[in-house]
Structures are given as structure tokens and as C-alpha cells.
Subunit: 334 residues, 2 copies
């Protein structure tokens, strides 16, 4: 594993000498908290545990603003943050396609390790499988996360109620568009994935708002449109959004127009939706504007009594019903 031309072979997944070599030379030096044991041993939890899993099959595996390694950390860290948890530990499991350059694997694992360190989470256990050429697509990564939820925190869609304000923590649709363009070999000046960890911004919000923070959700697959529909159904209310307030970078707006895509259905990996009681909305905004990850947060709408639906008040004053993404597959963006 020195010359730079080596590739992953089936025997790297056999459990024998080649597997051990890959662990010793590549994985263990980069993922320093992983031990060659069946299970990692962790201290008793000081509070309720949050537990979440996500597999990443993004294509291409490198894209502007990130790669499958950093995304695998941010995605799972953010899923923990969305229930108010402080992310602590990650497991990471790789499926490698025979023939993958070891250099590529090293780049991805390095990026994953850096992202974990930056987010303050420890990768404590892992797994690697190898499948023959044509039975996977380069590399798939599962990360499963563990966090602790502070005493008294109850962040759940069931707490959303009429009157709540709906905030989004930053510009939308960047991740989905960046990956779709990268897949076609296209780029757009200034456009990159928004992939980033959000738990620190969430912690600040939670500390400032306490129980006035009702629910959180990161609009990943399916985008804002699908995720809001899911939430509207789970709380049985109408969400009224203001089109003029949706934060959308000009390059994203342009890209969507060229490709005929609706930004409401493109995945975000670095922003979240927050539902807060109306009296706390301005305070929430002020807190988010102080955090580096959420400087561009906006109040985009409110919750109203009514049927479970999502309605967009357009810039010209009309109303458009926003449904869940349907029959328009934009897969492998995460």
C-alpha cells in the first residue's frame, strides 16, 4: 500500500491477512479511536440516548463542498442534533467495490476522520466489506450515531402547534443541486454543497429557547417540500410559507431554472427547519444569526389551524399547494 497504484481486492474483505493489513495500514492510523474488538466499550450514558443510522450512496463520491466521507459524518451528526442530542460517538461501516483505488479510499477515510474531529464526535467502531466489481458503486458508507439528550428536552413534530413560526437556518437546495451537477460533470461558479454539522447551532438554540423550541428537522432527501409535508401530516396542521422569504442563493436559483428543477425538492445537508412558538421567533433568529453555520437563517412561514398541508404564498400573492416529491426520482444525493 505504498506505490499509490494499489486497488481494493476481494481478499481485503476475507477476514485474513489482507484484511488485517488494510486495517493496520489505512483505517487504524486515520480512525484512532477504533480498536480491533468486536464491540466498542463506552461509558454509561448520562441521560437519554439518541440513536440513528444512515447509509450514504452519493454519486459522485467527490463533489464541490464535500465528499461521501464528510457527508457521512455530517448526515448522522445532524440526525442526532434534530432531536436535541449532543452527538458523541459514531460507528462507520464501508462497502468497497473491488478495484477501488486505495488512494481514493484513503482520501475518503481521511475526510471522514477530519469531519468527525471537527464535529467533536469519536468514531469508535467500524466494519469493511468488499464486493466484486459491478456489485457496488465504488464506496458506500453507513454511519450510526449515538448522542445524549439533555434532561427535559423534548423536540418532536408532535409539539408543533398553530401559531408556531417556521424557520430555516440557511439557504436551501445547495447540496442536491451541487451533487446533480457534479454527476453530469457540470459546475456552476460559486455553487457547492452546504454539507456541515449543525449540532452547535442547535445547542445554542436549545439553550436560548428551552421548551419554546418545538421541533427540528433537516430537509435532506425529498427537500423542504417533502419534509414539510411529512411534518404537516404528523402534527395535523397547515404550514403557510412565504416564497419571498425562502433563502435561495442566486446561483442555486439560476441552476434550478436552467435544469428545470424545483429547489423545494432538492436536498439540503447543512441547514435545518425549526418550529418555535411565535413569541420566541425573533429571539431564535437572533441566536441563529450569531452562529457561523446559521448566519443566514430566516423565518419562512407559520403553522395554522387547518388540514395537513403545505401552502406557499407566492411572490405575486397567489397560493401554491406544495406536495411531497412524487415520481421524480433524484436518487443518490446522499
Amino acid at each position: 500500500m505504498a506505490s499509490g497504484n494499489e486497488i481494493i481486492l476481494l481478499e481485503h474483505g476475507s477476514g485474513g491477512q489482507a484484511s488485517e493489513e488494510l486495517l493496520e495500514k489505512l483505517f487504524f492510523p486515520l480512525l484512532k479511536d477504533v480498536r480491533p474488538l468486536d464491540s466498542a466499550l463506552l461509558p454509561p450514558s448520562n441521560g437519554r440516548l439518541a440513536f440513528t443510522t444512515d447509509t450514504f450512496v452519493v454519486s459522485p463520491i467527490f463533489f464541490p463542498g464535500g465528499d461521501i466521507g464528510s457527508l457521512a459524518v455530517h448526515g448522522t451528526v445532524n440526525d442526532l442534533a434534530m432531536v436535541g442530542a449532543r452527538p458523541l460517538f459514531l460507528s462507520v461501516a464501508f462497502i468497497l467495490e473491488e478495484g477501488l483505488p486505495i488512494k481514493t479510499l484513503k482520501q475518503v477515510v481521511s475526510s471522514l476522520a477530519r469531519a468527525a474531529e471537527k464535529a467533536g464526535v469519536k468514531v469508535v467502531c467500524g466494519d469493511t466489506k468488499v464486493v466484486p466489481r459491478g456489485k457496488a458503486d465504488q464506496i458506500f458508507i453507513n454511519t450510526t450515531g449515538l448522542g445524549v439528550v439533555p434532561e427535559g428536552t423534548e423536540i418532536t413534530p408532535h409539539r408543533i402547534c398553530p401559531g408556531d413560526r417556521i424557520l430555516v437556518s440557511g439557504p436551501i437546495a445547495e447540496h442536491g443541486l451541487a451533487v446533480l451537477l457534479a454527476r453530469e460533470g457540470l459546475g456552476l461558479e460559486g455553487l457547492k454543497s452546504d454539507s456541515q454539522p449543525l449540532h452547535q447551532a442547535v445547542a445554542a438554540l436549545l439553550e436560548a429557547l428551552g421548551p419554546e423550541l418545538h421541533a427540528l428537522r433537516d430537509p435532506t432527501r425529498g427537500g423542504l417540500g417533502s419534509v414539510l409535508n411529512e411534518l404537516a401530516r404528523s402534527c395535523g396542521a397547515t404550514f403557510l410559507l412565504q416564497e419571498k422569504d425562502l433563502p435561495l442563493r442566486p446561483e442555486v436559483e439560476a441552476g434550478c431554472e436552467i435544469l428545470g428543477l424545483d429547489p423545494l425538492y432538492l436536498a439540503c445537508e447543512g441547514c435545518f427547519l425549526a418550529f418555535v412558538s411565535s413569541g420566541a421567533a425573533e429571539k431564535a433568529l437572533a441566536v441563529l444569526h450569531k452562529q457561523p453555520e446559521t448566519r443566514e437563517a430566516k423565518i419562512i412561514g407559520e403553522v395554522r389551524k387547518g388540514p395537513a398541508q403545505v401552502v406557499l404564498q407566492t411572490k405575486v400573492g397567489g397560493h401554491r399547494l406544495i406536495k411531497s416529491l412524487h415520481g421524480e426520482p433524484l436518487p443518490r444525493i446522499c
Copy 2:
């Protein structure tokens, strides 16, 4: 999803309506403890946590004695048991290939759910991704497990010391051989995978032996030969095995002979190796013989001072050095 001819489409992974329908109609009814939230919330742990991850890419996905669903439960439950933990919770993450019959998926998820129920673990969170035809092989499953380690338990290879007896809890090489034969469309009367959960037998052993139980390991990928080498290196001692005492079913012996395979390198998914102080070996054996999963346990060798190596005393009295599996890829058996 009623007629029985439906297949997985890319839009089942898009995060929109089709994804939700798959969750509502297939996953949630079978995996009743999974909630549509970003993270599962679990009670605080009463003791140290064990945390482990494993991805299953076994081919074929159905084989005598099990399938990828039951295997995904047993594999992870057993990894928890190998540090003395009581398995409690699982996450489960699927990668589905476009075109997979929904009937097949349902069979696998049902089997996974049954295995989890039987093992007494709850599947509390999940994820599903869909990749285009030819970018995966039917179905891959990651399970990540959480368990609690009883106070005072310390089961680790570092506690293995000269004088220890080496036990194996049942006949070896069955899983690897059963899967390899199934892949070739062959069968062998009476041969099936040994895939089963082992945590109850481990709990009984731990209760009876206490600190005299030093280390545990399930010889999965790489088989007994590779796993024993890894352990010998981590404790810096010689393992002397008696060939005559290795439990091997006649059909496994026959199958290995026909195919030219060494049972020492074939995976087990339903037995474990235990290292116990010499004075406790007979007691350990008696305990294991009372457990349904480990009725055929045997003492197969002992730990001696000497270089880190594994030596087999053959039936005719010679000595054979057992090395780690090398350059003989038998992949995708788990």
C-alpha cells in the same frame, strides 16, 4: 404493493411519496419499534455501553439455515455478546438495488424482524437507500447494535494468559460452507448455516465463571484459523489446538474434502471461542452443554508461553502451524 409483482424503483429512495409508502406499508408494520423520527430515543444506560457495527453483503441472500435478514441480526447480537454485553437495541440500514422484487424485500425484513424478536432485541431506527440496477447486488444490510455490559465484566483478548483452556461452543465451518455451496447452486444433505444468537449462552457462562472467563470471539470471516491468529498476536502467546477435538460435522468434513476447502478458514455464525482459566474449563463446558445453542461445546486446546502463533497437533501426532487466511478470497459469506 399488493399484487406481488412490484419491484423496488429508484423513487422508493427519493425521500418523497414512494419512500413514505414503502415505510408505511412494508417497514413499519414489520419493524414495530421504529418511529419516523431522525433518531430513536432510548432510556439512559444502566452500565457501560457496547456499540458495534456490521454490514452484510452475503450472496446468495437466502441459504440453508438462514438469510441476509436473520444473519444481520445474529451477527451483530453476537458481536455484542463477545464483550459480555446484553444486546438491547439495533439500527438497521438497507441498500436496495433497483428492480429488487418487493416480495423478496418483505421476506428478508420479516426474517430480520423475527430474528430480532427471538433474540430479544429491539430494532429502533432504520434507513433505506435505493441504487440503480447494477450498482448493488439485490440487498445489503447494515445493523449496528447497542448493549449493556454488566458491572465488573472485563472480557478482552488482553486477559488471555498461559494455562488458559480454549473452548469452542459448537461445530465449526458450517456457515461458510453452506453459503459457498448455495452460491454454486449445490446442497449437501443435512448441511446448513449455524447462524444463531449466542448471547444467552454467553450470559450463562459469564454468570457461572465470573472473572475466570477471560476472552470471547466469534470466528466469523477468516474462520477459526484467522481469528485465533489475531488473538494469539494480541496476547503474545502460543495456542496449541488438538485436531481430534475440533468439532466438525461429518457432512462438513465431506463437503470440505470434495471442494478442497480447509474448515479452519470457513466462517461460523453460531459458535464462539472462549478462553477460560484452566481450573474453570470443566465447569465452563458443563454450563455450555446445558444451553441449547452450545450443547456440542468442546475444549479444543490451551494457551502456552511462546511466540504468538497457532499450532495444531494433528490426529497422527504431528504439528501444523496454522496461519491467517492468505490470498484465498472467500468473500461475501456475511
